[in-house]
């Protein structure tokens, strides 16, 4: 693995309201320590890669409003390493931006692209998988995606059907991408043994992804290319402010991965979760003998399997709840059954409609 040519692009542009009322537009999930580890997700993501990638080889793409939060979390980085988006345009545009920047400032780079807010429990196993992906990508015109062997028939994830393996490597060709399947389909995927979860972590040469963007998303590609020689210069922000609103709001999976013919998957078992809901967070939090999360001052009666989160110093008495989420913050309180927390978007919409933006 060629250390000096391997770059890590951390996508930290998410709006992060899924953990409302703790996550807010002003401080989305990636800037929070939701698991009580003492580190934000962004910091944990950085440290996971910093063990084998030098700090100067990181780029973080985030909303302009969160630039200071990102620098605060990653003091090892310089301001130039924080790529700011004037508005969110999903992962395809984010990746195009990072690729154009790297093409200008680090020709010949290998890009690792990673979300900033996922959980990975076995960092050593993860590193082995990534390093093998980097080795493969550095010698092939390939788009490598990291797959996760499924442990349950999750309906909230994207699945990748693996095809033939490549030589004597652990990589496989990709047959098909399937977004969020039905429960029955997810069950069938799990049983078939050749479907893996799409982790959203990618590895490729900058040139390889740019070639696919030119072919599969030419509108966005030429918008960036028209910005010419500004990447890496003081004019970059002005160009981005002009380009971004014109770009398509589309994920890299839809725009490229599902279309390209040079996609490979490296599967791994490294204890992964996208921690997309309060319920998925519950699974990873320490719990007492009644299945209620610990770590806050809650006194419970006849209460089981609840996720309870309170501000520092706050006390709660909870009687007669099972399988609920109770999350309190200084200015907002959420109480909902654990199975319904995917309704958070609905809650947020109702709040905006009835109460305005103040608590979002």
């Amino acid at each position: 693995m060629m250390k000096n040519q391997t770059y890590c692009v951390i996508m930290a542009g998410g709006g992060g309201i899924r953990f409302w009322p703790v996550s807010r537009t002003a401080r989305p999930k990636q800037f929070l320590d939701m698991l009580g580890t003492g580190k934000t997700f962004l910091r944990s993501t950085f440290e996971r890669f910093a063990s084998f990638i030098p700090a100067e080889n990181f780029l973080v793409v985030t909303n302009a409003a969160h630039k200071e939060l990102a620098l605060e979390q990653l003091p090892e980085l310089t301001e130039r390493q924080i790529l700011t988006e004037p508005l969110g345009r999903n992962t395809a545009t984010c990746i195009a931006y990072a690729a154009f920047r790297l093409q200008a400032t680090a020709p010949g780079a290998i890009m690792i692209v990673t979300p900033s807010d996922h959980l990975i429990l076995n960092e050593a196993a993860f590193r082995d998988v990534v390093e093998e992906g980097v080795d493969f990508a550095s010698t092939h015109d390939a788009l490598v995606t990291i797959g996760v062997r499924p442990t349950r028939p999750a309906t909230g994830y994207g699945y990748i059907q693996t095809g033939k393996s490549v030589g004597d490597s652990h990589l496989h060709q990709v047959r098909i991408f399937t977004e969020k399947p039905s429960a029955e389909l997810a069950q069938a995927f799990l049983q078939s043994g050749d479907f893996v979860w799409n982790s959203g972590i990618f590895i490729w040469q900058t040139e390889a992804i740019l070639r696919q963007l030119e072919k599969l998303m030419p509108d966005t590609y030429y918008l960036f290319r028209s910005a010419g020689a500004v990447f890496g210069t003081p004019q970059e922000n002005d160009s981005i402010a002009r380009i971004y609103p014109e770009c398509r709001n589309i994920s890299i999976d839809y725009a490229v991965m599902e279309q390209a013919d040079n996609v490979y998957v490296r599967c791994g078992d490294f204890g992964w979760s996208d921690l997309g809901t309060w319920g998925s967070l519950y699974d990873y939090l320490p719990k007492d003998e009644n299945g209620n999360t610990t770590g806050c001052e809650a006194v419970t009666f006849d209460t089981t399997d609840c996720l309870v989160r309170l501000p520092e110093g706050k006390l709660a008495v909870i009687d007669g709840l099972s399988d609920y989420i109770v999350v309190d913050t200084a200015d907002a309180l959420l109480i909902c059954p654990k199975g319904t927390e995917q309704n958070i978007k609905r809650y947020i919409d109702a709040i905006k409609f009835h109460k305005g933006e103040r608590h979002i």
Copy 2:
């Protein structure tokens, strides 16, 4: 009714944790506006009587720690009118104290004794009942208690069985007092028609109650009498500090009303509740079409018949609760089924045991 000889003694010594986490030892229920009327219970109680009793004829008995709260609520009163208890010794001792004070400073007074934290909806009807009680007490050596015609088989109240009526008055002799009956007994009481709720509001001549205290609670009576000529002087507080810890911790109902042979009851219908629990408060609060209380920023889904109370400016999203109490304050949150809020004492004990006194 002899205005200048009629005095109103407001008992405001309650610890008031039944509305935890809103009521606290530092600010018990009587110093709170639980119904959102803009007035505390103490203030409402004062105004109820102030329409026919001059301000200088009020005494308020309260814990020494709450003297300033009482004066703040009742600026019409002077400091001398606030009788402070060094510790709570229940209503019998409170009434003995007030009676000895009045004997010293207003000989020949008629005392109206009232709790400070009850709800009375029909103030005109209430006033008629009280005035008739005062007229009767001023001409008889009688202990008059105000009864409330029951509207449901409540198990949380004391009941009085009425006997023969007295002349052509609306007063009745009292046959028996029964504290908190079983559900079956309460049903039988309701059906019989001659049981009324004991409101805890009493009317008598100072001399009449002192005679009964001497007879039925001589230990306490002589403790006060031994204080001699200090009542109404600057030495009163020192005497009280010495006397109070020695007094029996007993209610006037047990100590006197259930024993004395000159007890009469005047029944009324004036929309009374002791508002002793969150559930009883719920009945009197404005509600939306789903039966959830209004007046705070709660956005509800699949939620019915809940009492929700939030601090000013706080937002709550509540999904999937029916018949619950959700009360939030700056430093404590309560969530419990509406039927179990009589458990508050249990909650408080658990908090004290696990977390200390800070949130009580």
